[in-house]
């Protein structure tokens, strides 16, 4: 595997980790909001667990950000920014943004429909939108950028 492919692979791994950590971190907050709204009798337990997961998530998020910065430094040292941000990268980035936009529209439709039957707090709506806004484009981009093609001579 050539150096550029290794850098792309490492960058994708860090981005995947960031996506998972973000999902756990913010997902726990969303779960707490939903529990408080739908089953307040479990509120204390929900707050206890969500606070712990949030704290761990925040620490992991900082570590993942440091890991991303380290990969970025390697990219800069290798003077590989232009090569890594080539045509295919921009194409995948554009597709990921489109998917993110469509996912946000779909979520808004779901939330509006949901609101007709259940009480929906602004906290739930904001957390859900935050999760989708970050995870939909990030996941799409990581999947599109995954280099699982066989190296051909």
């Amino acid at each position: 595997m050539d150096d550029i492919s290794k850098l792309v692979r490492d960058q994708n791994r860090v981005m995947t980790a960031m996506g998972l950590i973000f999902a756990i971190w913010q997902g726990s907050t969303l779960a707490r909001e939903i529990t408080l709204s739908a089953a307040p009798e479990f509120g204390d337990t929900a707050i206890l667990y969500a606070d712990r997961v949030e704290a761990v998530g925040a620490v992991l998020w900082v570590l993942a950000t440091i890991a991303l910065l380290l990969v970025m430094r390697r990219v800069k040292r290798a003077r590989a920014q232009d090569v890594m941000r080539d045509e295919l990268f921009r194409h995948n980035q554009s597709l990921a943004m489109k998917v993110g936009f469509k996912a946000m529209i779909a979520l808004i439709v779901v939330l509006v429909g949901f609101e007709a039957f259940f009480e929906l707090t602004s906290g739930i709506a904001i957390r859900a939108m935050m999760l989708v806004a970050v995870l939909a484009p990030l996941t799409t981009f990581v999947i599109l950028s995954r280099d699982d093609s066989a190296v051909e001579a």
Binding site: D2, S149, A153
Partner: protein
């Protein structure tokens, strides 16, 4: 344009020049995956990239890329 409409002889021309995908990618200034997706007709390159690929292989763009006949 769909990637399926654009046929290419990239693999054959690469082999003729004894170039791997990574080596051609380095010559053109893109990642190996970009060359791989073009070769496998997943991604349609811009005119600029097509010209760079042709120049790297020392042929014309028409030698590398052709429109797929219906």
């Amino acid at each position: 344009m769909s990637a399926r409409e654009l046929a290419n002889r990239l693999k054959e021309l690469r082999a003729r020049h004894n170039l791997t995908q990574a080596e051609l990618a380095a010559r053109v200034g893109v990642t190996r995956k970009t060359i791989n997706t073009i070769e496998n007709r997943v991604f349609v390159p811009s005119a600029l990239l097509a010209l760079k690929i042709a120049a790297a292989l020392d042929v014309t763009v028409e030698d590398v890329f052709t429109l797929e006949a219906d």
